[in-house]
């Protein structure tokens, strides 16, 4: 087999794996959008906040240490203990539920009935707020996230492909774990929304707010629930991203790429988020591989957005979205 083709295959595989990570972030968007019609721009920041909280709890950092030191002139930074990973994940999950509750009570409650675009801009405000709040709470250095996931090159794939083609593919173990976790997560979400009472209520709300209200479903509870689930998905995405590249605030900008993923897949479709993520992941890797060197490289910065933009011109609702019907 020609070498270029082998490289392209490897790039495609790695693109698929990167796509899984985008899809994980996009999943959180879809959940919230379906249940409340809110386009949550801040999802990427939730990912960062979740990951930071996890690392902070795990390593026993004192929240707001920097601020406390500045005000009171103390020199505290750590509690001096480390928390087991499982416990830290549970605490971080609880923190995300708390965030969901705060968002519902202090922001969404007051914006019911406003135009969608106002809600959208409110989530941009939330993005900004957390952009300052997260580093204030946990410090602004790059944090190392380690929850004991497998990392490094996968030897099995390397040797197997070497046996087949005479060229070993480089696939990171972490990416494989991420793909498995994503699959599990989606399965769990589907089971939850199909077979539990809360899940059915959630689907009812997604279908029609007023009808759901009239059969006695509490909208407030459902919204807190759905933002908590989105926070939990953000935590999972944060663990994956964070293990891969460390936790820092600029991760949120990478997570913005989940937006074109959504536009491609459709805002209301969970399979759309996954497939959109894979298309974007593969597309940008292949584009960078094939065209990137000709135009100066680093095309990943914009390829996803331009692809989504061009795609939208032909199909405004995305691949799997519901048809947009407008009435006067």
């Amino acid at each position: 087999m020609p070498e270029q083709l082998l490289f392209a295959m490897e790039v495609t595989l790695n693109g698929l794996m990167a796509g899984v990570l985008y899809a994980l972030v996009a999943l959180g968007f879809v959940l919230i959008f379906k249940a409340s019609g809110i386009f949550n721009f801040a999802q990427g920041m939730l990912v960062v906040f979740a990951a930071m909280t996890l690392v902070g709890v795990q390593t026993g950092q004192i929240p707001f240490a920097h601020l406390i030191n500045t005000i009171f002139g103390t020199k505290i930074h750590h509690f001096g203990w480390t928390v087991p990973t499982i416990l830290a994940i549970i605490v971080a999950g609880a923190a995300m539920v708390f965030v969901a509750w705060v968002i519902e009570k202090y922001i969404l409650q007051h914006l019911i009935g406003q135009p969608d675009i106002i809600l959208f801009m409110a989530t941009i405000g939330m993005w900004y707020f957390m952009h300052g709040f997260a580093p204030l709470m946990w410090g602004s250095e790059v944090m190392k996230l380690d929850v004991g996931l497998a990392q490094g090159i996968n030897e099995t794939i390397d040797t197997t492909t070497y046996g087949w083609f005479g060229y070993g593919f480089f696939i990171d173990n972490l990416d494989i774990v991420a793909a498995i976790v994503a699959a599990l997560l989606v399965t769990a979400l589907v089971l939850f929304s199909q077979y539990t009472k809360q899940g059915r209520a959630l689907r009812a709300v997604a279908d029609d707010h007023s009808a759901a209200l009239s059969v006695g479903i509490s909208l407030r509870f459902i919204w807190v629930l759905v933002w908590s689930i989105a926070g939990f998905v953000a935590l999972v995405a944060g663990i994956m991203w964070g293990s891969k590249s460390g936790v820092q605030i600029s991760l949120a900008e990478v997570a913005l790429k989940a937006l074109p993923v959504l536009m491609l897949g459709g805002f209301t479709s969970i399979p759309g988020a996954i497939i959109g993520g894979l298309i974007i992941g593969v597309g940008e890797q292949l584009f960078e591989f094939a065209i990137g060197p000709l135009v100066g490289g680093a095309t990943q910065a914009w390829f996803a957005y331009v692809l989504a933009l061009v795609f939208l011109i032909f199909r405004p609702q995305g691949l799997f979205g519901e048809k947009i019907i407008e009435r006067v």
């Binding site: 409110a122 405000g125 900004y128 707020f129 680093a298 910065a301 989504a308 011109i313 405004p316 009435r327």
Partner: protein, 358 residues
């Protein structure tokens, strides 16, 4: 007591439709212009111009531009930073290529080029709406910044990848480059701002502006009563990008003097201008000024207070700034979606009745 329509007789249609129907407002407007043009330039120093006046004027131009697109025509854009970069780089290329032409024309032509780019990226707005469009404009933001970073022609193959404004004069006064005097910087920004604001005000209260507002309030309904959505949306994108391009050109040439696309025109700039528009007031000329003033002054005040007076590290001040701005956005959207401009309007209503509110 003095703020009344009473006794101010309007005898023509023209009088009836003027921008400031109340005499005190008109007087205030002329006094503000007089102070801005004839008093302040004699007193400003470098610190005031560089940290307050120049950024305020330039951001006000950008906010006016975005307000036309978002506030009047209802098309949310997150690509303002990218369009400012187009204005800056177009201005740079023109300044270097045609040194004998006055810089004022360069800035205007840079605005024109930005308008063309804006229309190109605005075309999808015919098919996609709302936050779909907002995300699509992110494509403009990331693509344009990447373009100016990677294609060496745009920065004339300079080793640092930066663009530096050469020295240019207007009527013999240096306005760009490191030797610019504070008052010259101040004046050129002010002249552009007043011009842009005048055009914006007159566009938005005429036929064009009414079409934009029709599209904003409900585009299908507007189309049915005879507004051409293509023309309305494209003209909104063109005018908006023209202003934003001017702002970008001034930001680079007069204010910064040297710029690098990713750093000076990144996505934070897009957010910043959008926040000015939201806090100031969507669909209001005054709001653009108020929002720009607020967003320029707030960090300066915060920095002086926390870092200067209390000796806190700048890092915490920067983080608090994010928190305050984000919080304010949410609070404004909840309590007063029409922003500072609406608060100003309410104050004026109260003032008209004062001191006998019954």
């Amino acid at each position: 007591m003095f703020y009344r329509e009473a006794g101010d007789f309007k005898t023509s249609y023209r009088d009836d439709n003027q921008t400031f129907p109340i005499r005190l407002d008109r007087a205030g407007y002329w006094i503000a212009l007089f102070v801005a043009f004839c008093v302040i330039p004699f007193f400003v120093n470098d610190y005031w111009v560089n940290s307050i006046f120049a950024p305020f004027f330039i951001y006000a131009i950008a906010a006016l531009g975005l307000n036309i697109l978002t506030g009047y025509a209802g098309q949310v854009s997150l690509g303002t930073g990218g369009f400012m970069a187009v204005g800056a780089y177009a201005c740079y290329k023109l300044m270097v290529a045609f040194p004998e032409i006055n810089i004022v024309f360069h800035v205007l032509i840079a605005g024109g080029i930005t308008a063309a780019v804006g229309v190109a990226f605005g075309l999808p707005s015919l098919r996609i709406k709302g936050f779909y469009l907002a995300v699509a404009t992110l494509a403009a933001q990331f693509f344009l910044v990447w373009l100016f970073n990677k294609v060496a022609w745009f920065y004339n193959y300079s080793a640092s990848g930066q663009i530096n404004a050469p020295e240019r004069t207007v009527f013999g006064v240096i306005v760009t480059g490191p030797n610019t005097e504070a008052w010259a910087k101040y004046m050129i920004c002010l002249v552009f701002l007043v011009g842009v604001a005048w055009v914006a005000r007159n566009l938005t209260r005429g036929m064009t502006g009414r079409k934009w507002m029709g599209i904003r309030d409900m585009d299908i309904a507007a189309e049915i009563i005879g507004v051409n959505p293509l023309m309305a949306k494209m003209s909104a994108f063109a005018v908006s990008s023209f202003f934003v391009g001017i702002a970008g050109a001034l930001f680079f040439a007069v204010y910064l003097g040297a710029a690098e696309a990713g750093e000076s025109f990144g996505i934070t700039k897009s957010f910043l201008v959008l926040f000015m528009v939201i806090i100031g007031g969507l669909g209001s000329i005054f709001g653009s000024f108020a929002g720009a003033a607020f967003m320029v002054l707030m960090p300066v005040v915060l920095k002086n207070l926390l870092v200067g007076t209390m000796g806190w590290p700048t890092e915490i001040a920067a983080e608090l700034e994010f928190i305050i701005v984000g919080g304010l956005i949410v609070i404004f959207l909840i309590l007063e979606p029409h922003g500072l401009a609406q608060l100003w309007r309410l104050t004026k209503e109260k003032l008209r009745l004062w001191p006998f509110p019954h």
